[in-house]
Amino acid sequence: MKKIVIMASGNGSNAEEIIKASLDAPFKVSAVICDVPGAGVMAKAQKLGIKTIIIEKTKDQKSHEDKILKTLHDLNFDLVVLAGFRRLLSSNFIASFPVNSIINIHPSILPAYPGLNSYERAFKDGVKSSGVTIHYVDEGVDTGEIIEQHHFERKDNDTLETFTARGLELEHKNFCKVIQTVLFQKRLQRVEIYPVKLALIQNPEIVVGRAFWIETKGPCAQLLKLTSEVLIDPVVEKAFLHQDNTLTDHLSSLNLKGLASVEVAFLPGVTDNTATSAGMALIKHPILRGSEVSVHSGNIYFQKNKTVSDLSKEAYLKLANPWLHQVLVQDSKQFNKPQRFKTNPKFEVKLSSQEIKTYDLEVSDDALMGLSKENLWALNIEELHFIRQFYRSSKRSPTDVEMEVIAQTWSEHCKHKIFAADIEHTDHEGTRKIKSIFKTFIKGATTKIVNDRKIDWTRSVFTDNAGIVRWDKKLDVCIKVETHNSPSALDPYGGSLTGILGVNRDILGCGTGALPIANTDVFCLPPEGADADGLWPSELHGPRRLLEGVHKGVQDGGNKSGIPTVNGAFHYHLSYAGKPLVYCGTVGVLPHSINGIESHEKNQKPQDLVVMVGGRIGKDGIHGATFSSEELKEGTPSTVVQIGDPLTQKRMTDFIIRARDLGLYSSITDNGAGGLSSSVGEMCQLTGGARIDLALAPVKYAGLAPFELMISESQERMTCAVPKDKWAAFSKLAHDFKVEATALGEFTNDGNLTVYYNEKKVGELPLNFLHEDLPPMQLKSQWDPNHRRSNWKDEPQKLKAASLKEKALKLLASPNIRSHEKWVRQYDHEVKAATVLKPFSPKGAPSDAGVIAMKPHGGGEHNGIVISSGLAPQVSLQDTKMMAMYSIDEAVRNAVVTGADPERMVLIDNFCWPDPLPGPRNPDYAHKLAELVRCNEGLYEMATVLGMPFVSGKDSMKNDAIVKFQGKETKISVLPTLLVTCMGHIDDIKTVVKTSYGDGQDLWILGGTEELNPYTLSTLVEGYKKPWSSVAPEKLIERYRAYHQCIKKNLIRGAHDVSEGGAVVAFLEMAMHSGLGFDLDLKDESQLFGEGMGMIVFAALKSDQARIKAELKDARLIGTVRKDSCVKFAGEEMTVTDALNAYRGGNL
């Protein structure tokens, strides 16, 4: 119920009318405030049962108004109505309420006859007509915004009394009506929030305030009170109405006087979590309880020594992203104007046509390709011909919904066409024909390993959202790693946030629904400082912004979801400037069976309902799947950029796990790339069809075209199959958890995916056509021995020479080695109380892997999961086949070093490649395709010999950007990059081996006898260029098995893998755990700094020397741990503190 307060001084005829009318109107009068004791209005109001308050007028207007304000503060009202209140309100009083919170009726047609006694003055002047004006009150005399005016004619025989009476009649007739209208009109009001004192500000150079636009149905006169009780923490903040005079004083107290400001707010339609939360909070307060509230938020930055034009230029470089934000720059004069926002901003999203389009495909090839480009279908000409053939034989034209469904389903992102293609491959080893890289090498390896080793613990491999492995007597474990490169290139924060939330949903939609228990993240980025010379393409975010953005995204995504981030890596190379690589992985757990159903199975049946669960659909993320199947270039649609909402997803996760355990659905999958088109399109393959009506889908705002509803990738959604007899319970449970669940249709077995919009059929596609009939691409690859990659911009100068000690310290401080502890500690890595091995030791030694105990997740008492990763893009510069072997080796070795059993390990592959398909800007595509083939050959060889199956994987094949650099069109392509994630089983988590050693222990090195490559050193100091060499996988697995036996026999006291920087760096990192130094008996530079496969350094007790020699044939004893912090090698001397300082150095 709306409420008003009446302020009056006179006999109260208007007040009486309003009170009487309110008895039958949807508003109430909370109180009448009167400043004249004994005025008629008092008795009238009291008679009608209304609370009356006398605040007697005093000479000092300020103290009088303060009393009124204090009284008002404790009342509850939406609007103040002046009904014959005879004192002009001060601007101070008026500014205590949002603009237009006070309404008045004036007895003349304003602007004529403002002030007192208007009827009388008009009558005496002999006017022909007069009237009444209902207006808002501002600080002037009857100058506020006019709402309505009503006229009456003067009659010849009018006396002042009859003249006035006619006016009063109009007043009584209209005032109440207008009040009622005003009380229900949409209002956009604004509050600003500032710190109470300078001491609470993070960076006094950039002071931040917060702004909220709050849209309510009707005015909210108590907005300031409301926001002060809801949106701020009063100990540290104060809320202001933007027109409030005291705001200027407050800003002065924060030393912000005279500074220009930038306000950064989200564009309409972009997920604004702060605003959503503010809305949720506001409607909990009694003032707005049960109302509809919509909020938009912004940050206000004040910056010293910056002009408006500086700020306008810099805002989009530092504070805002044009894909997501709008920016308002104001100088202090504009900012201090009382009417700063005379016209309110608009927050509406552009409407799309609801009409269904059909396309004529009977046109030339050029025209077909034009259509594909214009609509961002990313379809090639063969595919378009295939589609045309289908419609020819069906004797009709495709609808936009159909074309979009086909485009999403056949996108490289969803269908992995390159990995499925027939390839005629030629390299220096000859020519061979490959039918599907995926089937031949990846799935091929897994099949061979599972058969050869008679493995019975893989449950579901390559069929579901994630691979599922039997873990112990109680639990199955699933794992998936995704990339989110293209979205991260456009908005690093949103890209990585939706990346991590997206892969969490993959796990939630795996089997009957798994619970995510751990995250991993690997970033490949351009090196920090690479733009220090001021040369950077304007289309691209700078390295620091990329790093900060992707970091924050993973932080919020993991922390706010309550999932620990247990493992990851930061890798830097200039080639990642165009598309940064953002790998997000998640591990989940499933009981073996739930309610008697094997938990890895999907059991949707015809007639089960198609139910969308979670967030609503908006225009965000339209064409994500097809867009990421193209290079980044101008003209990218802004809708592909999204921000995630961890809270909505957390609620959904809580709900899904509960619904799963109650058996309320028969199948589940996530809504990721391609939206409903993909989730329903894939799920219905099992039943043989589905029928949905898009008009039933809940939307964030009106105005989405049917095809947009079908393919929008709006986040935080799952699709479930719900048996009809479970729907009531499913729906009720969702409601309790504040999760939206909507039945869109049902699964069928008629062989078609059929789409309706408002009961009208808008698309019908046979599943065979959609999923199976498209012939594989025919590709040719050609290895070019002379192919060279050059950087798109110069690398930093290398050192000419340096001492061994300087080299060691330089290495520790180099981008790919130095500590990222400060960043990593911002990820909660131990929520759920199961993280055995954390990313860094307390003193800063890095771990090789993350280890999670299963017991807290309902698994066995002692066992755990070891998660590690490996990538070696630098090796791809020589040969991608070798790169695959290095990547797998690094991932496996990290897990083995930590204590995982090499007999119980699975792998996950993630390819990120430069475009290997023919195209106008892609002359060397055939070589890049050949590199892909060779990489997979290496992967197959390595995995099959190690006996470690792949259980899941993903590829991202268009990691290129076309930009303008130094006036030239420049293509920036990533190095071919294969990330391998390894998940290993550890029988007893108490046997975890850490990057550490103890006083007096022996230091050993395992492997490293072949020719080593001091690669990282060669990037810093001139003159070290050497080739990479490989170690036979047979030898590696033998070594790892022997090492693992040593762990089982408790011989290993601490260990570390040798990777970037070589053995010295590895030992120095081990030293950081305790601070104790070592003596090292290595002299040769290639032994000190050389990198290669299969190398492990470890510490052991002196008394175990003989046993170690017996167990590990290729281990060499090369040093001892000292009792002090001194480090000695090859005649050089330093301390562990020197090493730690270098390792943690720089501005990281």
Partner: protein, 250 residues
Amino acid sequence: MKNVKVMVLAGEGINCENESAEAFRRLGATAEIKFVHEWQAQPKLIHDYHILVIPGGFSYGDELHSGQIMALDLKYSVNEELTDFINKKGLILGVCNGFQVLMKLGIFENHNGPRTMTLFHNESFKFQDRWVNCVAPPSKCVWTKNIQTMALPARHGEGRIIFAGTDEDQATHYNELSENSQIALFYTEDINGSYAKIAGLTDKTGQVLGLMPHPEAALESWLYPEHVTCDPTTPLQLFKNAIDHVQEHL
């Protein structure tokens, strides 16, 4: 022995409910996870329990201020029952986000009127995950009885206790808490800029404990980083104290 019943709150972004419930279960108490909406649908539910736990997490995404919206949500739905629960000698534990919620509810204040303290951004303005050593001074807190030192993981972005007003006002607020024996836990090192290194507070009854670091995540020896000499017995004592108290007094 009396069966001690614990209600562990979940949902709306809370995410440490399982380990929090497990902490009590391993000591033989009955711990039940209840979602916020379940409690709101039946506000009197709380009276079936002896102990209420508000675990860590990011309630409502912590978008405005940590714990702020959850505090409002509880204030406008179950405030009476919550006050009643304390009056009836119930015990409350708020860890991390739970502490922030209790703080925003004003549970640790001794006077009516505007709040005098809050949990604000760490001095670094960054979230940090790091094990910290804590020491419990003598206080009226039921939970920290007989506990001297504990090593616990601290995992928060807004754990800095600050008081309102001038330096003098702040000292007054602090002294009052101190004299009232309401300071339940200190860090041994300054990890986040918290006033006087306060890590945890109790209310005027001693029944409520709010603390930033996570005792429920320090109950297995294998969770400890090596440098820490303390073992899980001490944090376990914290939960045991509450259970013992219920068995003795209720």
